[in-house]
């Protein structure tokens, strides 16, 4: 966990100054111990989910990590992105829409951690097809995603950069923003390649309702 100390807090600690007040670093250690002792396995959700990787740890404070740390996380995340084995980035937007609507997966009440039991959760946080009015606002609107970025034909080499960026964003969102709120769908095996291709189609296929 990142050490964070606002000037006001530092001043308060200095005034309080008694031996019983743990230092921020000590509180960081205690908080991790509290997390470890407070949870138990249930179904597919095991306590090893609390073992943070470097990125999760660096993004666990009210303030973001330093620019240097953020850059390291982004570089490592970008290096983790695997292009589709088939070389084919675009699937079926109809299947993509179903996945985008599906908010299931990976909870202790879900049957397995297999991609087949996972939705892509997109509408929870994003506007996508404007016809769906029940959308969240944690992420940006994706209405006209491909159209606004000039993708007229995803197979055209002129579209390659945008197609690859979008695949990277879905595979490991932290490649472009170290503390992105978005899950790492490819990197953590939440969706398989075919599912990712279908979500790609929803966003980039000129025939997708998103790009009308």
């Amino acid at each position: 966990m990142k050490l964070y100390l606002l000037p006001a807090v530092a001043a308060a600690l200095a005034v309080a100054g008694c031996a019983t007040t743990p230092s921020p670093a000590e509180l960081d250690r205690q908080a991790v111990a509290v997390m470890k002792s407070s949870f138990r396995d249930q179904g597919i959700a095991k306590v090893d989910r609390l073992n943070q990787d470097a990125g999760q740890q660096a993004c666990s404070a009210p303030t973001p990590p330093s620019a240097e740390v953020a850059k390291q996380i982004e570089a490592a995340s970008l290096a983790s992105v695997k292009p589709p084995a088939s070389g084919q980035y675009i699937g079926d937007w109809r299947e993509g829409e179903k996945l985008a609507q599906n908010g299931r997966g990976m909870t202790w009440t879900d049957p397995s951690a297999e991609p087949k039991d996972n939705g892509a959760n997109c509408y929870n946080c994003h506007q996508i097809d404007k016809k769906e009015i029940s959308f969240g606002t944690i992420g940006p609107s994706l209405w006209n995603y491909g159209k606004l970025r000039g993708v007229r034909n995803p197979a055209d080499p002129a579209s390659a950069a945008m197609v690859q960026y979008t695949w990277g964003k879905l595979w490991n969102s932290k490649a472009y923003a170290a503390c992105s709120n978005m899950p790492r769908f490819g990197h953590l095996g939440l969706l398989n390649e075919q599912q990712l291709r279908d979500v790609m189609a929803l966003l980039l296929d000129p025939r997708s309702p998103v790009n009308q």
């Binding site: 908080a31 949870f39 989910r49 993004c59 790492r184």
Partner: protein
């Protein structure tokens, strides 16, 4: 007449998507307002009051000598000052874990057994009813958690770290959804719990009756389901993380009016 009908219909169609979107939250608020006169939480409150005064458990005692922080038997005002430090247990406790302490000490129930019992079952259902009763006695009062004891301040600091702790397959923390103003998941408004989110919002609304599943939800169950959706493992009932994060939210809500037990979609 026909022309008027047609033009109204056209106007409605054109404006429909936008109006629908804009009024969805208003619609839910209106729906809640309609239900307020008959909040089924009242039934749980009445059951809780009965449980409070009834002689029960292996020791055949009532809970009327239970100290919820303002002295033995004082119910009014206790809810808006919890979690707080209790000298007899030597730790910071929230309402539900404190109720279990009293059930164990005064009535002779097995606290560990209650903590292991699923929500809505057996004595755990009674804890929820008791929590509803205790919360209702502070309706209209403002949150004012004590922070004088070092353990209370430590609980806040730990709770803040628990709130921002990212983990699991989705990289979520509490802050992923509750760290900014004006955000939603689907159509559900999300309170920003890193500060006072306002009267009767967030920590100041639970326990609450949930219309969608017809259940009375305590704060421990509210947190439990948040952690489920956060894709975390299962938080122990009354575990230190759940109490610390409650302290964090409760202290942040200082001055907010309690409307618990509320009614939710």
């Amino acid at each position: 007449m026909r022309t008027i009908v047609v033009s109204v219909a056209v106007a409605l169609t054109a404006g429909a998507a936008f109006a629908q979107q804009k009024s969805a939250a208003d619609g839910i608020a209106e729906y809640r307002k309609m239900l307020e006169d008959g909040n089924p939480a009242d039934l749980f409150e009445a059951k809780g009051e009965e449980l409070w005064t009834q002689k029960r458990g292996p020791k055949g005692a009532s809970l009327q000598a239970c100290d919820l922080g303002k002295g033995p038997g004082v119910v009014k005002g206790a809810f808006v000052e919890l979690p707080r430090y209790f000298a007899d247990t030597g730790r910071v406790q929230d309402l539900e874990s404190r109720l279990v302490t009293c059930m164990e000490a005064l009535q002779g129930f097995n606290g560990a057994e209650i903590a292991k019992t699923a929500f809505g079952r057996g004595e755990q259902a009674n804890v929820t009813a008791l929590a509803t009763y205790v919360a209702a006695a502070s309706r209209g009062l403002r949150f004012n958690l004590p922070q004088a004891h070092a353990e209370e301040r430590r609980s806040y600091e730990i709770g803040k770290r628990v709130f921002f702790f990212r983990g699991g397959p989705y990289d979520f923390s509490c802050a992923s959804c509750h760290g900014e103003d004006g955000k939603r998941i689907r159509l559900q408004d999300l309170p920003n719990l890193t500060k006072n989110p306002g009267d009767g919002v967030g920590f100041a609304a639970w326990p609450a009756y949930r219309v969608s599943n017809g259940q009375m939800w305590s704060m421990q169950l509210r947190l439990n389901d948040c952690y489920r959706q956060q894709r975390f493992p299962y938080p122990g009932f009354g575990s230190e993380a759940t109490i610390a994060v409650s302290t964090y939210m409760g202290v942040n809500a200082k001055g907010a009016e309690s409307i618990a037990p509320a009614i939710k979609r």
